[in-house]
Assembly symmetry: C2
Homo-oligomer: 144 residues x 2
DNA sequence: CGTAAATTTGCAACAATGTTGCAAAATAAA
DNA sequence: TTTATTTTGCAACATTGTTGCAAATTTACG
């Protein structure tokens, strides 16, 4: 994954590409995304970072990243909202998941299965599909 | 759909089958589910019913219906939780969606496409699937 | 490098959403 | 009809998300 230095530089260039200031909070939050192999929800940031940044800042940072297409949301059946890093094909105002998501019932982790494409869905007549979200739940590789 | 009388009787029998008391609140909430062709979220109940019942009661009623397999949750990418009536194949503690969900970007409605089966997903090695959730977003029949 | 302009952050205050305990009311059982 | 059980509504609280604004940080530029 590279040295701390390299990661910081990579993060900075992501931010600059999106025309965002390179700040400590944004850098730290992106680091957390890169370190965790799974999706993160809001409360994770406060925990993982040891309350070093404000709740409000986290909300605003995540919203900014969403707007710029740096991260994407993953659907859940509870009130939490989960976010994961986007791959390069996502651009501002045009996010499409090309992969499915997997939620492990054991460890609770949600991960992006980048290699697994979303299937074609045959909708009833009269419906137009723009985006397909697939979340599979079960037991992940590490937990079985 | 039948007379008011018949619906009330049908609802009562659903409740009795689940060993639940037949109360005014539960009957009204089930009525709302039957009337609306789509999925409902918590705030809908307070609006649709004209604040005739308590917030707490709605929360508890929905939880009870979930526990008994009368309704199911639909995944969303925001903090709202959406619920829809289950079909007969759902039983207590064993809910599986056999259909996909469609969220219209125009009207905001979420509906169950009962005729459209969830696809088979080929997962990477080491993953075991228990349940597959599919939410397609786009434009629905009525909005195009 | 130092200064001005622009952006971002943190605080305070608030709004919305969800939870728990408990007494009163409604329902079911006898 | 009476009693036992279940459900409801209230109050109080906990959690989560939002907004305005001044202070701090970052960027742009000489």
């Amino acid at each position: 994954m590279g040295t701390k230095q390299q990661i910081t530089e990579r993060i900075a260039s992501i931010l600059r590409e999106s025309k965002l200031s390179v700040t400590e909070t944004r850098t730290k939050i992106l680091e957390l995304f890169m370190k965790s192999n799974g999706a993160l929800e809001h409360s994770d940031f406060e925990k993982l970072a040891g309350q070093s940044f404000d709740r409000v800042t986290v909300y605003r940072t995540l919203q900014t990243f969403l707007d710029k297409g740096i991260i994407h949301k993953i659907p859940t059946t509870d009130t939490s909202v989960r976010y994961a890093l986007c791959k390069s094909e996502c651009s501002e105002h045009d996010h499409h998941d090309h992969h499915i998501h997997f939620k492990c019932e054991e460890c609770g982790n949600t991960i992006c299965l980048d290699e697994t494409d979303v299937p074609q869905i045959q909708l009833p007549k009269g419906y137009a599909a723009h985006n397909v979200e697939v979340v599979v739940s079960g037991v992940c590789k590490s937990c079985k």
